[in-house]
Symmetry: C2
Subunit: 393 residues, 2 copies
């Protein structure tokens, strides 16, 4: 099988991830925490070490890492835990048009709940240029001035088009109005630099960075979370046992403990820990370059095919790994089925859980897009196979 | 190491669980769902098959199973999704004094939120007899008559004392007043019969049964959920992508899809599926008898030790697997440390995330209890070692 569905989940993972997960499962899949035995306590060190590796990856000396079972749950905990959008006051939330339903539906649900008690939540899309499919930064500035943001939720890399959003500028502009900034780094952490060190010129002013262990970090399902600069407290959204202060019915205030109720999935965290050994700050650029080369090769090949309609940002410097397209005369899922059945090529079709962007892509007539997504282990031959298969259609 | 912490998580798991998880990880840890390739679609069958096995285990022909990453999240989704305790009207919730913080803190958080918008949530503890440490069923009837329950949350087996609560009667009494009944079967599913078939005389009238795959079901971390009889709709509490109807900002209404946002942890679900092969309705009693024998052996041994204070229900017919105790002159965690360091016995000490019960156990002077918990793979020798170690203290 030719696997081109790395935006859904990267595959394969490094061998070490599989090995450590199996070993952890067999030897020490215990419930971590206090009041326990040596091995269970040592697992706490593994969790802390994994936090350190994430913090190190983003140059985040003053940051905390919270683990959640999925990035969806991480985003739910952040948005629903923020006082600023859960208080009596109306709030204005800007989202990029490239948001995933993990953000879009979470905000829609919060808006509904607030409206049922006569509180407001205004959700605005960041403006894009319909021609270039890129964020219109001048208009962003203008919109923020007209209606200042309380909160900005922005995808770093679109899971539909591979567009790398100008999050540095967007968050910088928002910060002038005191916005809280949430970066959805599901598709980016480990692939592009996410720098939280204020002294660095590439510093992204994100207060929360949500990550999915099983995507660009090459870890397993079950280990995700968010990084926080601790500027904003989060109220608990999910409550439960924390192995600490158990007689107290309130969740502990400490950021990690208070946001991590229930048993840690130590097997998944051990897998993520192993995966992080393969991602060093100084090797990110090599992986990026490799994937960029394959991406460009794919785009070049698809451009030569007259039946193919591509959905790309104008400036190819702002693009990586994910290529959405359609084939004239076919619905997206028909193309997916043919590629799967006749060519053993695995990719994904449809709307990719991104509710806003398709009105700009005009992809409804195809019922979404065909999405090929490249990973660290994709080969030139994989790309050639896809290009050739599409030529045979 | 002698492992007596099965109430935290069972260990080891059946060999097949490890094998299938490793195989799934290596060969098909894909993102399931629509608009994808054959293997990813086939993983849906694995998920559906796992639901079927759970439903079959509880004789629940008309029931649905929702998967969540942890039982804590399952309970949060149920409690926060129920119209009856989230509407404008005040609600009365009864909890057993044996509840875990997954229930207790979730209710406390909901109560706080409701009070902040001038809505009521009255939380009452089901009455227990302080001598027998058992639920006082006569008084339950009286309390329900005086203040009828909107919702009842009841643990099936206490994770502190191993007490099997009379959930059949409690839910039966509550149902007379139209209560919604939530059973926390974290410690019981797979170990004692949980029967949802109305025609069966042991029928437990639970509307929601929350389960933890990694405890008495011998599956891995990451696969948990709840069973529902579909009598009560749940509003979404956690929102996100569902791979379906993506342009719609509302979560789908369908119970499973609408409650399972984000990627399924297919590796964990595959592990749970394998674990369920080892648990058949007709073998539950054999496992129960085996664990009961070991439990009684442990209790007999501990009773001979004059320094030991046991925390048990009066009627030993209502008890299984979990034995809490203290040793006079020692704090609970001192005993745990000595057993760990000097005898290589792993068990757990403290309050075990159960906030209410310790006032009835009077265990605060020991800072909680020492808890030995027996599993399917515990041996007589393990029990003897613990008894002997405690005699040497």
């Amino acid at each position: 099988m030719i696997y081109l569905d790395n935006a859904a989940t990267t595959y394969p993972k490094p061998e070490k991830v599989y090995e450590i997960m199996d070993r952890t499962n067999r030897n020490c899949a215990f419930n971590t925490g206090r009041g326990s035995y040596k091995i269970a306590r040592e697992l706490n060190n593994l969790i802390e070490n994994t936090r350190d590796k994430i913090v190190n990856l983003v140059y985040g000396d003053c940051h905390n890492v919270v683990f959640t079972p999925s990035v969806t749950i991480a985003i739910n905990q952040i948005i629903n835990g923020l006082e600023a959008v859960n208080s009596k006051n109306d709030a204005v939330v800007y989202v990029s048009p490239y948001e995933h339903n993990a953000v879009a539906r979470t905000l829609a649900l919060l808006k509904d709940k607030r409206e049922s008690i006569n509180r407001g939540l205004i959700i605005r899309e960041l403006p894009i240029n319909p021609e270039t499919l890129e964020i219109d930064l001048d208009k962003v500035k203008y919109d923020f001035a007209m209606e200042p943001p309380t909160l900005i939720c922005c995808n770093h890399i679109s899971n539909v088009t591979g567009y790398i959003l100008p999050v540095q500028s967007i968050f910088e502009y928002g910060t002038e109005y005191g916005s809280i900034n949430i970066l959805d780094a599901s598709q980016s952490l480990g692939l592009v630099n996410v720098i939280t060190d204020r002294a660095n010129s590439h510093f992204i002013n994100a207060d929360f960075i949500a990550f999915a262990g099983h995507k660009s970090l090459y870890g397993p399902f079950g280990a995700a979370g968010f990084i926080t600069n601790n500027k904003y407290k989060l109220a608990p959204y999910i409550a439960g046992g924390t192995g600490s202060n158990s007689l107290n019915l309130n969740m502990p205030e400490e950021i990690t403990v208070g946001q991590e109720p229930g048993s840690h999935n130590i097997v998944a965290i051990a897998g993520l820990n192993a995966a992080l050994d393969n991602i060093e700050r100084n090797t990110i650029e090599d992986v990026y370059e490799y994937e960029k080369e394959l991406t460009d090769k794919l785009i070049d090949g698809l451009k030569k095919n007259r039946n193919i309609k591509l959905y790309l940002p104008e400036n190819m410097y702002n693009h990586i790994s994910i290529v959405s397209f359609n084939v004239k005369g076919y619905k997206a899922d028909e193309v997916g089925r043919i590629l799967d059945e006749d060519f053993d090529i695995a990719l994904r079709t449809g709307y990719h859980c991104a509710p806003y962007i398709h009105k700009w892509l005009h992809s409804e007539e195809y019922a979404g897009t065909v999405r090929a997504s490249i990973g660290r282990y994709t080969t030139e031959e994989d790309i050639e196979s896809l290009i050739e298969a599409l030529e045979e259609l």
